[in-house]
């Protein structure tokens, strides 16, 4: 059973979002890291890039799979998790602790349209 944290918002493409003020922290879920296996590379956006909800902002690569990262939010990237450049496996260790990017979001209310923990848990069960 994968870990799901209450209080965060989720996309059905397996990203999580934590909103603090107008800054959204984005990562991939524990379920996603399990499905991918040993992660060897994270293709991250650059600070200053504009990301759009529903569009890809990077990719995660394991030995045998690669998956696009779909942004759950729209806005400007203000920080990326540089630790992942040298140690992408951190996501396997703790997918919620090791976020990928922080975005200054243009529309904080849009976050409410994302799934809550219970709804996301249902998707993972399917």
């Amino acid at each position: 059973m994968s870990k799901i944290i209450e209080g965060l918002r989720y996309a059905d493409s397996h990203e999580w979002v934590k909103l603090e003020g107008d800054i959204a922290t984005v990562g991939i879920t524990d379920y996603a890291q399990h499905a991918l296996g040993n992660i060897v590379y994270v293709d991250m956006p650059e600070v200053g890039d504009e990301v759009v909800a529903g569009e890809d902002f990077g990719a995660v690569e394991s030995v045998k799979a690669a998956s696009d990262l779909i942004s759950p939010v729209s806005g400007e990237v203000v920080e990326i998790n540089e630790a992942l450049e040298d140690a992408p496996e951190l996501i396997n260790e703790d997918a919620f602790e090791n976020w990928i990017m922080k975005v200054k979001v243009s529309d904080t209310e849009a976050i409410d349209e994302l799934l809550d923990a219970a709804a996301y848990a249902k998707i993972c069960e399917e």
């Binding site: 060897v40 590379y41 293709d43 690569e61 030995v63 045998k64 799979a65 690669a66």
Partner: protein, 441 residues
């Protein structure tokens, strides 16, 4: 139905049909709509024995002429050591498939690793793949890499001094894929760096492609180009002849982000245009945008040194339409060719080959200028094995006369412009004879 490649006796067929539970082989096609079943005979010749086949190939072979070649244009008559062909004929190499089962493919994987090491050494770059189809398609893939790296910019510049055949392919790939390609006209036989810089100022350029040496054989001075491109966050690709890099400034030395080109010059037979091999090399920063297969060193469960296909997640069989390229093979056996060739020639041999080409080419150049019938096409420009001259001679007539005497003369590059190539296989006597023939035509 038995044949030397199909070992089925009537008894075998009977046994197999019984096991399957059908009466005749045609029953295995009972699911095929009758209207699409092919009921005629193929319109191809009757089966030939080896004796007849050899005779047929000999007859065809006689209709080709073996010429003393003084033309290049992307295919050079370099020397192929006997050892290479001999080793390539080992069927453990050529009857293997792509090394997807590394435990029983260490031979293929290791030579690709050695090939990668050599290409990186020659170009100065950090990474390369297991090889590409040819130099032209490798250049087109370099264009895609630059666009992918630039994310939002979609325009690429290519100098008109890149070989015409390469530009044709890059132009085709760009048109279909939707890359905006601008051919920047040359100036005095070399890339017009000022014109390129002007285009860069427009701010929408993902990358620039220039050759080394160029289609006229001129070694271009690319000083300042990489800095200008990097200043606008673009990338520089240099299409370089890998053989010449033993003596010429490397793509890395010019500040290139990507090096690519055709490996035919590493001793491969002309073979009427193929198989050759394309190479593409880059620095680690671009490695995940690089198409094709890559071999990496690793260890097995017992700690033994071993090699494996790596970075596979970028590839088409995983990424499908999100892949960086549709490439799913390489010219593996030609990569082995290059590897064995470079091993034999080694550090000194490759330099010596270049010196021989260069001295022979300069000898021919001096002789032709000395006749008074030729002048340098673009002033005195440095060259290695290929050079271009201007002449008033009726070159069509000259080339015809050369052909009648067993020579392949220079390539015509435009009105009164002719490009000669001299490899280490050409002797002083052949060059003297070429010049005599040209004058008497």
């Amino acid at each position: 139905m038995s044949n030397k490649f199909m070992p089925h006796t009537e008894e075998d067929i009977r046994k197999m049909l019984d096991k399957i539970g059908v009466e005749k082989i045609d029953d295995l096609y009972s699911d095929v709509p009758a209207e699409v079943i092919f009921k005629e005979e193929y319109n191809i010749p009757s089966a030939m024995s080896e004796i007849e086949l050899r005779r047929h190939f000999n007859e065809l072979g006689k209709k080709n002429r073996q010429l003393t070649i003084f033309a290049g244009g992307g295919a050079y008559d370099h020397y192929s050591p006997a050892t290479v062909g001999h080793l390539l004929a080992r069927s453990e190499f050529y009857t293997a498939y792509t090394p997807y089962q590394p435990e029983i493919s260490q031979g293929t994987l290791q030579y690709i690793f050695e090939y990668q090491s050599m290409i990186c050494e020659l170009t100065g770059m950090e990474a390369t793949n297991a090889s590409m189809y040819d130099g032209a398609t490798a250049t087109a893939e370099a264009m895609f890499m630059m666009v992918a790296a630039a994310k939002k910019k979609n325009r690429v510049l290519i100098s008109s001094t890149v070989a015409d055949a390469v530009v044709r392919v890059v132009e085709t790939y760009a048109r279909f894929h939707g890359v905006e390609l601008t051919v920047v006209a040359e100036k005095d036989g070399v890339s017009d760096l000022e014109a390129i810089k002007k285009e860069l100022e427009k701010g929408d350029v993902a990358g620039v492609i220039v050759p080394q040496p160029n289609k006229y054989g001129i070694i271009e001075d690319l000083t300042g180009l990489a800095d200008a491109i990097h200043a606008v966050k673009g990338l520089l690709t240099i299409n370089a002849d890998p053989s010449t890099l033993a003596v010429l400034r490397t793509p890395k030395g010019w500040g290139a982000d990507i090096a690519c080109g055709d490996g035919q010059t590493l001793g491969m037979p002309l073979a009427f245009g193929g198989p050759y091999l394309g190479y593409i090399a880059c620095d680690k920063a671009q490695i995940r945008k690089m198409p094709g297969r890559v071999v990496g060193a690793t260890k097995d469960a017992d700690g033994k040194r071993a090699y494996v296909l790596t970075l596979q997640a970028r590839e088409q069989h995983i990424r499908r339409e999100k892949a960086t390229s549709n490439i799913c093979s390489n010219q593996s056996l030609m990569a082995l060719y290059a590897t064995i060739y470079v091993s034999l020639m080694g550090k000194e041999g490759l330099k010596e080959v270049n010196k021989l080409c260069c001295d022979g080419a300069h000898y021919l150049y001096n002789k032709l200028i000395g006749t008074g019938k030729f002048t340098p096409a673009f002033g005195e420009k440095p060259f290695l094995k290929e050079f271009t001259l201007k002449t008033d001679l009726d070159i069509e007539k000259v080339n015809k006369h050369l052909l009648d005497n067993g020579f392949m003369g220079p390539l015509v590059m435009g009105e009164g412009l002719v490009t000669f190539a001299v490899t280490e296989k050409r002797t002083k006597e052949e060059i003297d004879q070429l010049v005599t023939l040209m004058l008497e035509a």
